[in-house]
């Protein structure tokens, strides 16, 4: 099968993708990606306020992927361990899109968690964040379920997500985060 790279390029160009990656998410990769994005934001001369927001939300999105892949790593299946992310900028809004495999049995729990966050107002999100921060159980890796609440709080937007069925065991979870100026 011939891969039409121009089609890929054109699609990414039209969506103003600044950076994209597909593969295993390692700590070293995240360090490099964050460095690249930071210098891109500097080059674009973004206001410090926007720059910080984008950087912060990006850290949470990418570390979500990292910790998630850690959880499924016992599958030892390279395909399942692989994830994708893209960062783009359209009309003054930054878009961070992530995608990763998820066990079908975990969909319901995640969907409920995200739906619960999406009905909260700004003030309620603040209270919920403090509640989870103070009482929530810390996972071994230190996630503790604050990431998604923090993303919703910092962007001031609903978490836009979807599950695409893959097979009887897995689906593909995608999250599309928008940061408007």
């Amino acid at each position: 099968m011939m891969l039409n790279i121009y089609e890929f390029y054109d699609k990414m160009e039209r969506n103003n993708i600044m950076l994209s990656f597909k593969g295993d998410i390692t700590s070293e990769l995240l360090t490099s990606v964050l460095q690249i994005m930071e210098s891109k934001l500097d080059t674009l001369q973004e206001e410090p306020k926007i720059k910080k927001k984008v950087y912060n939300v990006l850290v949470e999105c990418l570390q979500n992927l990292y910790h998630h892949l850690d959880e499924v790593s016992q599958d030892q299946n390279e395909k399942i361990r692989s994830a994708i992310f893209m960062i783009g900028k359209i009309d003054n809004s930054y878009n961070i899109i992530t995608g990763n495999y998820i066990k079908n049995s975990n969909i319901e729990g995640l969907k409920k968690r995200l739906d619960d966050i999406n009905v909260l107002t700004k003030e309620e999100l603040k209270e919920y964040y403090k509640l989870v921060l103070n009482n929530g159980e810390m996972s071994l890796k230190g996630g503790g379920g604050l990431g998604m609440i923090d993303i919703a709080r910092k962007t001031g937007q609903k978490l836009n997500f979807d599950f695409s069925p893959v097979d009887e065991n897995y689906s593909f979870f995608s999250l599309n985060i928008k940061i408007s100026q």
Binding site: T31, P48, K52, Y55, L140, G142, G144, D150
Partner: protein, 126 residues
Amino acid sequence: MEKISIEGTPKTPTITFDTAKGFLEIKGRSIPENSIEFYKPLVDWLEKYSGKPQSTTSVNIQLEYFNTSSSKCILDVFKKLEAINKGGSAVTINWYYEEDDEDMLEAGEDYQAIINVPFKMVQVSE
């Protein structure tokens, strides 16, 4: 008691703890994937310090970025400071935030609401 320090990296902050002066500073970025591991030594030092603290303890938190994984560990640090404050050392936490960085100011206010220690919000220009 001595002066303890951890040098910063692109993902972890510089930590200085001068136990003779009762001064602790956390400065830089705190975005490690595994923050429990990173903050464990500091929590242990605070535990040791709480046995024989100075009459006042001044704490500067000057973070440019921190992730949610660190936020729990920072709360653990503050809980230790809360205990030290109760135990007879007057603790002050100075929370630095850059002008316009409302997220960082709000984060400081979140801690202020949870922790029973005097907080000072200190604005710095960019």
